[in-house]
């Protein structure tokens, strides 16, 4: 893994330091302050900021525009792109659009089914899948070619990432699936939120057994619970989420007013423990509508100050 792009995230990962990323969800409106305000809160504590792409299929300000706002603040955005809403023409066009603003990181995703969002009656696209999106970006970057074969003037220069969910079923293909994403071109991985540490560590071990941790930078995903209710909701209602009973019990076991702090504590403990897990190259902190807590999580996890590159 040698540096191929101007990405700050890539430089930090290649330096061997643990990387820290976070994410901001764009607003359900057009006020840029909704993004810049969140970014201000976390900018000194993270290396790059993901901007989600109509997450849970709820219509929001577009990821690309939000990334441009971050770029204009001098920050390092990670453009999330789902294949649910774009065919291969739109995919390639949006990648070029991002490249024209020198956006250097991209996360390739399938996207939640539209049934979960505000337009369940809409059509979905899925012209490509997330694996093929990875291949598309890599081809555009490395070969300077469109999918159709024509040359790209000034190809994109993006570090290409993918998501991995160690907790989804079937478990036996979770590591093969990671291998497949690496083969498709993923250079970094941001995982699903980790609450079941044993299962995550087992997945990492299986990944290490195949040497995958040396082929891709794995950032462990964490999300602090704000309340016991949120823990129960994530356990029971969010697809592909694995929240063990003892975690829910721990959240429920403290008075309501102390639950936010308990959630932060669990998050910090998770990061601290996983810093010892071989192959974990950083952390992706998804503090959903709770960005103001990112600095505390980063500081208490011993990941502050961030390296300057």
């Amino acid at each position: 893994m040698s540096t191929k792009t101007p990405s700050k995230l890539e430089k930090i990962l290649d330096s061997g330091a643990l990387a820290v990323t976070s994410e901001c969800g764009p607003p359900r409106g057009s006020d840029p302050a909704a993004i810049t305000r969140k970014a201000e809160m976390i900018k000194d504590y993270v290396d790059a900021i993901n901007i989600t792409d109509n997450q849970t299929s709820v219509t929001r300000l577009c990821s690309l525009a939000a990334c441009i706002h971050l770029k204009q603040m001098g920050l390092e955005p990670v453009l999330q792109m789902v294949v649910r809403d774009r065919n291969r023409i739109a995919v390639q066009s949006d990648i070029l659009g991002a490249a024209s603003f020198d956006i250097y990181n991209m996360l390739c995703l399938s996207g939640d089914h539209q049934q979960f969002g505000d337009n369940p009656q809409g059509q979905n696209v899925f012209d490509l899948d997330s694996m093929q999106l990875l291949q598309t970006v890599r081809r555009m970057r490395d070969e300077g070619k469109f999918l159709g074969g024509d040359d790209i003037q000034r190809p994109p220069r993006m570090l290409v990432g993918a998501a991995a969910n160690p907790f989804a079923d079937p478990f036996e293909i979770r590591v093969p699936r990671l291998a497949k994403k690496i083969a498709a071109g993923a250079e970094f991985i941001q995982t699903q939120c980790i609450y079941n540490l044993e299962k995550f560590e087992e997945w990492m071990k299986l990944a290490r057994d195949r040497g995958l941790h040396e082929k891709v930078h794995i950032l462990a995903g964490v999300t602090p619970f704000k309340s016991a209710g949120m823990a129960k909701y994530m356990k029971n209602r969010v697809p592909g989420m694995d929240v063990p009973d003892d975690v829910v019990k721990r959240m429920s076991g403290v008075p309501k007013e102390n639950q936010p702090q308990e959630g932060i504590d669990i998050c910090v403990e998770t990061i601290t423990r996983l810093q010892e897990c071989e192959g974990v190259r950083g952390f992706h902190i998804m503090a959903i509508e709770w960005e103001e807590k990112v600095p505390e999580i980063v500081e208490r996890s011993g990941l502050y100050p961030r390296p300057q590159v």
Binding site: H113, N165, D169, E172, R177
Partner: protein, 222 residues
């Protein structure tokens, strides 16, 4: 087969309420098997319409017939001699049959009596489920005989997505995750290594995306 569902009677009444002489035409193929548009359903619909119009005090003549198929000229021609007796036809065939009826009898209004749903199988009596979307380039040889295009909600060629849980799809706990089924069968066939081959970007031009499709076989054409 093509699987269809009966349209609600209110919707059919709304379409045909201004006509006075109706022919309800069933189809003896797929829609008979899925119990949406065969002889039995023709009888049920015709009786329900007669009762409705009688209660409304309106005289409407309703005849019934069920053809062997509505997707072949040969069988549609059986109506040629009598079609002019009717103001309109309610076809209980799939959308294919309804359209071929309309093409064949250009001056006669034709209304659909069923909603055409998908190409699928009879899992058990009363339960039909989708198996094929007619993409025009079959990949079942690579996916252990289970089609992710018709059976994965995101038609992922390199699935499963992160929403697969306990064998079920993220959109419904009643829906099997196609990729779980594929992986189970690859394992059974001792071919799990095949999973790591990346399915290439698909050419969707043989599917709906490429426009209406035609198959021409010169060797059998007359």
């Amino acid at each position: 087969m093509i699987v269809a569902e009966k349209k609600p009677i209110e919707e059919i009444i709304d379409m045909v309420k201004d006509h006075e002489k109706l022919l309800v035409v069933g189809c003896n193929e797929c829609v008979t098997v899925c119990e949406a548009g065969g002889k039995k359903e023709v009888g049920v619909l015709a009786s329900a319409l007669r009762m409705y119009f009688m209660n409304q005090g309106k005289k409407v003549d309703i005849d019934e017939i069920t053809l062997e198929r509505q997707c072949d000229h040969e069988y549609l021609e059986e109506l040629r001699a009598r079609i002019d007796q009717y103001d309109a036809v309610i076809s209980l065939a799939c959308g294919v049959g309804v359209q071929f009826m309309a093409e064949t009898y250009f001056n006669t209004p034709v209304y659909p009596g069923v909603n055409t749903c998908f190409m699928g199988v009879t899992e058990e009596r009363g339960v039909w489920s989708e198996r094929c979307q007619g993409c025009g380039q079959c990949i079942l040889g690579r996916t252990a005989g289970i089609c992710p295009i018709s059976r994965c909600a995101k038609r992922l060629l390199n699935g499963p997505c992160g929403g697969s849980a306990k064998g079920k799809c993220e959109i419904s706990k009643d829906l099997d995750c196609a990729w779980q089924l594929i992986i189970d069968r690859l394992q059974e066939l001792d071919r799990l290594d095949d999973y790591e081959e990346i399915a290439p970007i698909k050419d969707w031009s043989t599917e709906r995306a490429g426009g209406p499709r035609t198959v021409v076989r010169e060797d059998v054409r007359q």
